[in-house]
Symmetry: C3
Subunit: 202 residues, 3 copies
């Protein structure tokens, strides 16, 4: 349980770095970078909690906000070096979305959402922070572009929900489902895969 908590804080920090880096790339000031780090990190989980009609965890537990400020600080301090760590950050992000997807599904089920809603909310937890980040930066959200990102989360969330119907240790289920997210994300970037479109842009 303790371990999950620290992983959650770590994941929050990684998301904050990603949001702040996006802001830095656009020449936004340090306040804007902090703001973007914040919304990217808490956006997905907060939206899930709002739909579950519970209070987002960061409202009462200040450690999440501290984790975000540390993330933003890192992104400012090591701004130049972070680019050369792009591959490492990609791996962290892929691990992060796997973790957040599983936590999101678990929390939704714990608060008595339907199984199918838990799938959507799990995917939301991992992806909506990035969507809000992109909307604020006035670019079309990444998940609506070619890359396989949210669909990896969706696959992992479906896996988790399906495995709850067989007698399986929840921790093992969490591990398998997070691995599905990570695996699909990793392989899709490695082999440059994408989903089909219904109608190609002319």
């Amino acid at each position: 349980m303790e371990l999950i908590y620290y992983i959650d804080l770590l994941g929050t920090m990684v998301f904050a770095i990603s949001g702040a880096m996006a802001a830095n790339r656009y020449g936004i000031d340090i306040f804007g970078a902090t703001f973007m780090g914040f919304v990217t990190a808490i956006g997905g989980g907060s939206l899930r909690d709002v739909f579950l009609n519970i209070r987002p965890v960061w409202v009462e537990d200040g450690n999440y906000l501290i984790a975000i400020f540390v993330g933003v600080f890192i992104s400012i301090l090591f701004n130049k070096q972070l680019d050369s760590f792009a591959r490492t950050l990609f791996l962290f992000d892929a691990l992060g979305i796997g973790f957040f997807t599983v936590v999101g599904v678990e929390k939704s089920l714990a608060y008595e959402s339907s199984a199918i809603a838990a799938v959507m909310l799990g995917m939301f937890s991992a992806c909506m922070g990035g969507v809000i980040r992109d909307v604020l930066m006035n670019v079309t959200p990444l998940i609506l572009r070619k890359e396989i990102y949210a669909s990896a989360c969706l696959a992992g969330a479906i896996t988790y929900v399906l495995l709850t119907f067989i007698p399986l240790d929840p921790n093992l289920n969490a591990f398998i489902s997070a691995s599905v997210v990570f695996g699909i994300r990793f392989l899709s970037v490695r082999y440059n895969l994408s989903l089909p479109t219904v109608r190609p842009i002319n």
Copy 2:
């Protein structure tokens, strides 16, 4: 009551088709189309419920999500044919926003919002899904452009609230108010009407 429930599911499906079609038009992949169908269909009602501080209906009742997936599936399968059904879809949409407006006002009043807030929330129920869809697609929301869309919903919502002050069967009120929305929407497109602007674009 049963009938209302099925109309609600049908309306949700029609909204999902509209969201997914918008995504298809931009050459977005099938996951993106599903995502857009989802946010378009649940956006307005969810926002209303979040402001009423209750849980959106789709979080517990999986049928709404199934209706959305059916809608997305239809939009992908009959992608080419849907364009030639544009007129039919327009009529469905006009009926849909009339229905959703009335349901939104009724629900808000049932959860003890003020009459004036019920008007806004009724309009939100019908229109905000489309607003979120447009924001995600990075275009200026339709309701901020020339067409009479949200104002039709607003007129219907005002009608419903005003008619609650006279002794009238709620079903008759719902029918009249939804007809106001449909009628204004239909006539404004038929005769190419628009509201005045305060200051014309140069």
Copy 3:
């Protein structure tokens, strides 16, 4: 207490004017102007309340919506004159964000958020309405551009929270903290100050 209530209504009206004026500037119709006035005025406070898991005040108290409609009406009626009152409006806005920041922090603390979350939520109360306005108008939010706006609110929110740790009359604290917001905002525009960016746009 009475006074605070009327200041709150006045602040809401000023924010509605600012939102409606933005819409007028883009040649949006009178419905769109009303809609923009509404979201600008209630956006920040509503988001704070949603995160606190309570119902936004305008849902039950119709006076807030009336204040908004009055604001929109003023912006339409005095559309041409408002431009020549730009300086007055700027001062009103600077006072408004100071007031909303302090009210936001107080309300968050009253609903048992952590001190650090109260700072974020105070800043949100004052700034997120404008962010939503800008996102809907499809422009990069003001607070992500060069001006010192949200950072002034942040400074005021931090001041308020810090001063709660010493024995000080809450009203005096509110006055000091709102003055910090106003002062920073005023001076930054007067002397054209801005925060450093991490990486300049090439």
